[in-house]
């Protein structure tokens, strides 16, 4: 289970998160939507401490970190939280000097200290899951964007995280490649993977989410089931944002 309490984050004088509270049960999918600059990516990045919140606390499984009044979060706490999460990036960020298999094995070998053979076996199984068994020995630059992103998903899963974080996983993709990536994410959802997804794909959000939050200006504007948020938003701001999207 993930619980975040009163998370605040500023970049200089700009307050990007203004006290976010959120709870997500194990095995559920949370989708974060909102206009650009609303703080949704920052919130996601706070969950694995790529951004360190200024205030508030995060609880993930048995890891609990309180940021209030803390100057520097101890490295142990940072690592313990990061090792419970996996992240899929908008621009994939695969390791270009490693093969596809190497990318997926890297965390298991370097971080989890698994024997090479076992890491390899697990990596191959994951590669099969994302439908890229034949690309094991390719380098990232030899793959299409959609394939790279599926490798990114396999890499994130390889360290067996309790929750997977997706930062606009399809935004950098050509339209015809979006489907293959969304399909993999949907499959993970069906298997009961806990996920937090920042996306602009509304139809996908409606399909996959157990819960949606709509952020605006560093606050949560709407929160609820896809039906509640997407079809019956309460605030005029949310209505405006959603109608602009559907107008596209």
């Amino acid at each position: 289970m993930i619980e975040i309490l009163d998370i605040h984050k500023s970049f200089g004088s700009l307050e990007v998160l203004k006290g976010i509270d959120l709870k997500l049960e194990h095995g559920k999918v949370l989708v974060i939507i909102g206009p650009s600059g609303s703080g949704k990516t920052t919130l996601l990045r706070c969950l694995n401490l790529l951004e360190v919140p200024d205030r508030g606390s995060i609880i993930l499984g048995d890891a609990k970190i309180d940021f209030t009044g803390v100057k520097k979060v101890p490295q142990n706490s940072v690592l313990s939280l990061r090792r419970k999460t996996g992240m899929v990036f908008q621009s994939y960020n695969l390791f270009p000097h490693m093969t596809v298999l190497g990318n997926i094995m890297e965390g298991q070998i370097t971080v989890q200290k698994l024997p090479k053979e076992e890491a390899r076996k697990r990596a191959l199984a994951l590669l099969d899951k994302v439908g890229l068994s034949d690309k094991a020995d390719s380098y990232p630059h030899q793959l299409s964007g959609g394939q790279q992103q599926r490798v990114g998903i396999a890499r994130a899963m390889a360290v067996e995280p309790e929750v997977l974080l997706f930062d606009e996983p399809t935004s950098a993709l050509d339209p015809e490649l979006v489907g293959e990536v969304l399909k993999v994410i949907k499959q993970l959802a069906a298997e009961g993977m806990t996920m937090v997804i920042v996306t602009h794909e509304m139809k996908f959000a409606a399909d996959v989410a157990d819960k949606i939050i709509l952020m605006d200006n560093g606050n949560i504007l709407e929160e609820g089931t896809p039906k509640e948020v997407l079809e019956h938003p309460k605030s005029p701001r949310a209505l405006q944002f959603l109608s602009r999207l559907s107008g596209e």
């Binding site: 992240m87 960020n93 630059h141």
Partner: protein, 221 residues
């Protein structure tokens, strides 16, 4: 060219090559290896968030870059004995050249590390790596590729710079040429030494090409 000159050329070729292989090359290799380690340490110190190592690294680069290499060699070899530190010419030369390579190359290494996209650090962190692990497994291997051309440049410069060791009595190739040239044909001998230096540099350039190609296998361009 008369027979005497050809004879001198032939007679001096072996001693010159020998001096090159036995003295110039070892001095270059040892100095470069130590210099590279110094360069990485210095670059990391400059990039770290610790104040003291950062200051020390900056001071080191500032001093070495700002003074002539020949002067540094003189201080190490002729100056240090006055405070009781007497060094073998080879050791003195290694210290001087290593410090020089370390300072100049640290800038190359630093620039290469900075050039790696921030997303690579984040991806490494996201699979749970520490900073050190990310550096070792993800950042440095990619930075290495960026450093090959400029470091090859430094390496080739170093081969030639080792001739400065002649001035602190280290009998490398130039000094050997000097010793023979005193009695015979200076123009001929220095040109001969020049050709041998050229030969060494050419081999190294070929090595550089090979390394660049090898690293190219994972880049799209």
């Amino acid at each position: 060219m008369d027979d005497r000159k050809i004879q001198i050329l032939m007679d001096s070729l072996l001693p010159l090559l020998k001096a090159g292989v036995a003295f110039t090359i070892p001095l270059t290799l040892v100095s470069f290896a130590i210099g590279l380690i110094l360069a990485v340490i210095t670059a990391l110190a400059r990039l770290s968030s610790w104040r003291i190592p950062k200051l020390i690294a900056r001071f080191y680069v500032w001093v070495i870059r700002g003074t002539p290499l020949l002067l540094q060699l003189f201080i190490i070899f002729f100056g240090l004995p006055t405070v009781g530190i007497i060094l073998d010419p080879f050791i003195a030369a290694v210290i001087g050249f290593s410090l020089s390579v370390g300072a100049y190359s640290s800038e190359i290494v630093r620039a290469a590390i900075i050039s790696i996209h921030k997303g690579q650090w984040e991806a490494a962190f996201s699979v749970g790596m520490t900073r050190g692990q990310a550096l070792r497994r993800v950042i440095l291997p990619q930075a290495t590729r960026v450093t090959v051309p400029p470091l090859a440049n430094s390496f080739i410069s170093l081969v030639k710079d080792t001739s400065l060791a002649a001035s602190i009595t280290y009998v490398e190739m130039l000094r050997t040429a000097q010793q023979i040239a005193v009695t015979y044909e200076p123009l001929l001998l220095y040109c001969e030494a020049g050709v041998i230096y050229l030969l060494f540099s050419t081999v190294l350039s070929a090595l550089q090409n090979y390394l660049e190609k090898r690293f190219d296998r994972y880049s799209a361009s």
